[in-house]
Amino acid sequence: MSTITMEVTRYRPGEDSEPTVQSYEVPLRKEWAVLDGLNHIKDHLDGTLSYRWSCRMGICGSCGMTVNGRPVLSCASFLVDYAPGPVRVEPLRNFPVIRDLVVDISDFMEKLPRVKPWLIADPPEEGEFLQTPEEMDEYKKYSMCINCMLCYSACPVYALEPEFLGPAAIALGQRYNLDSRDHGAEDRRDVLASAEGAWACTFVGECSTACPKGVDPAGAIQRYKLTAAVAAMKDFLMPRGARR
């Protein structure tokens, strides 16, 4: 049976002085994702390797890693596509490493509630809000975010400016702003239109390239800048209290 070499970054901050690379030979099977290779290592070669995974169907967002330099879901990237190898597996960039391939995403978890990612609305007394399929299309793609953090890993602005809200958080804010049922855009504005919000983005677009779910966070940010610019003009012409 043919095999492929996986070169995996190992690191325990505080215990190891610096990251090292460890090589493992794993079977090269047509169906195997990079994640299957890691599981083979963990189960049979070296139980100390740490990484996250769960659904292995590209929907839980746990398994993001840097593979041959690009941020990907390791359950949805296949070893054969990297043959003959070696395959370089590193943790996602732009995040502190907890251990090996596990990164600390608490920064995002803390930022997410700031964009108020929930519907701000008065529900009808009876039945559902009406929303046509066309109205849903307005925000649908921004609702597909699995919080996998690939976009943060790809974003050069986030790399330099850790205060930046970041692609997914802004896209999720927009997801609700653009929902015909929502009236919360005003409530989200201070955060989204702040210096750390949409305006920090220099429109590099790497986030949308990296996104495995077609969310297009770069598009969401651009669109928000337009809305915010128009709103700022209105503010200029009309005192803030009179806006609504």
Binding site: G47, I59, S62, K116
Partner: protein, 580 residues
Amino acid sequence: MAQFHNVVIVGGGGAGLRAAVAVAEANPLLSVAIVSKVYPMRSHTVSAEGGAAAVIAEDDSLDEHAYDTVSGGDWLVEQDAVEAFVQEAPRELLRLEHQGCPWSRKPDGHIAVRAFGGMKKKRTWFAADKTGFHLLHTLFQSALSYPDIVRYDEWFVTKLLVDDGRVHGVVAIELATGRIETIIANAVIVCSGGCGRVFPFTTNANIKTGDGMALAYQAGAPLKDMEFVQYHPTGLPFTGILITEATRAEGGWLLNKDGYRYLQDYDLGKPTPEPVLRSMELGPRDRLSQAFMHEHAKGRTIETPYGPIVHLDLRHLGASVIDSKLPFVRELCSKYQNIDPVKELIPVRPVVHYMMGGIHTDIDGATPLEGLYAAGEVACVSINGANRLGSNSLPELLVFGARAGKAAAEYVQSLQTGPRSVVYKQGDDEERRLRHELGRHDDGTERIADIRTEMQSTMEEGAGIYRDGNSLEKAAVKLHELRERFERAAIDDHSSTFNTEIVAMLELSCMLDVAQSIVACALQRTESRGAHQRTDHPMRDDEKFLAHSLVHRQPDGSGRVGYLPVTITRWPPGERVYGR
């Protein structure tokens, strides 16, 4: 130093999040915490594809939903619980709509519903074929608007603290740091999901290891109906990734190696070009998975390196239906199987999918152990009986998550006393045990992965779609041996920082408990009902077995099985009729 909360919820999936909000709404002064081994939005609810059932259509009725559920469950169903369930499900799904869930719509903007297996009316709400994903993210994001809900993200619960027949909290490890903490609580709600990973071939995520079932079982709470394990008829070979039943609801066909719609040979109705409710491909999952086994025995399945398969044919639906109603199916087939269902047949085989059994609870999620509640897949109320109908689980999480949260909130308000010092001592003992586990296995001779793999194949061989006394006896002996070998298992990793090997070891210990309870219940039930098919006892036996199995854990890990009568309100046991 211990932490304190009024209510601690183990699990941040659909059931756990709904329960937390229910506690917060019942009494905002209560302190409520969610402890979850993964970030809540990574919970397995995220994978649910097809939809969530609740009556809204004009031509539908609560009674019909109830009848489909009771007959689908082969009458091993608590009918009062089902009546509450069908009544509260529409309210819960509407609540999610009001929170922003992008339910698929009709052109006029109203909620759309689709057909689903075993359902006589179209009543399954859906968000394309990512229903669980949208449901979970909506719940999670709206729960963020309750800043008082405390979260322990990536904390693994290892023990329930029990004193004098009452639950007083949990012990948990913070994965990032290895910190071990006693978390005292007046009530604990277990919402830790199912246990598909006990079997080798499953749609279930890596985290579905039955932890909560084992924790409750070890704490003295009985498990119920554990022999009822659902095989979904259509999983992708090798990965086990689910191809949702919605494919068949939209009109997909199951074909054997001759291209023949074989379900017509198994009393499931006559083939028609358009899908017919409660018929053929829209029959219940137990019957469809069993039909596959018969086709295989007749040599009419197709051999592959990953076992026998049949084909799911969606080609006649066309690209536009597939892209609008089943986009995720197309994505999954292309990524994981390298095929395009618009043009090609999808290879599928039955795959372990859902646990009907679980922690025994009443209609409010209360277990027999005071202060302990359970909801979601980990619990067994039971609305699912011997066979769950697709799309009943998601609404179940919401209805019974909310009920358990409310009941727990009321219970803690009535309490007069706190924990005694022995509870803290138990916490300290558990901490010591865990530290010991981390170091002890240095000289171990067994690998965790080997024991796990053997457990899984034991379950498949001994307690699969068809079982008999002989296969189950063998499985029981083997599991006993594996439990002994588990004591000698080695771990390579002794670090306290994000140690996923110790997690795997703790999970394996839970799975062994769950596996033993499944086999114990299956051995005792000498009849065939729903998903429990005994080739040595092929008939349903209402005289003896219209009763729930209740299994209590014995000190040596074996289970003592007893029975509890089924509550029947309006639907006396009858024949399950599909397609005629």
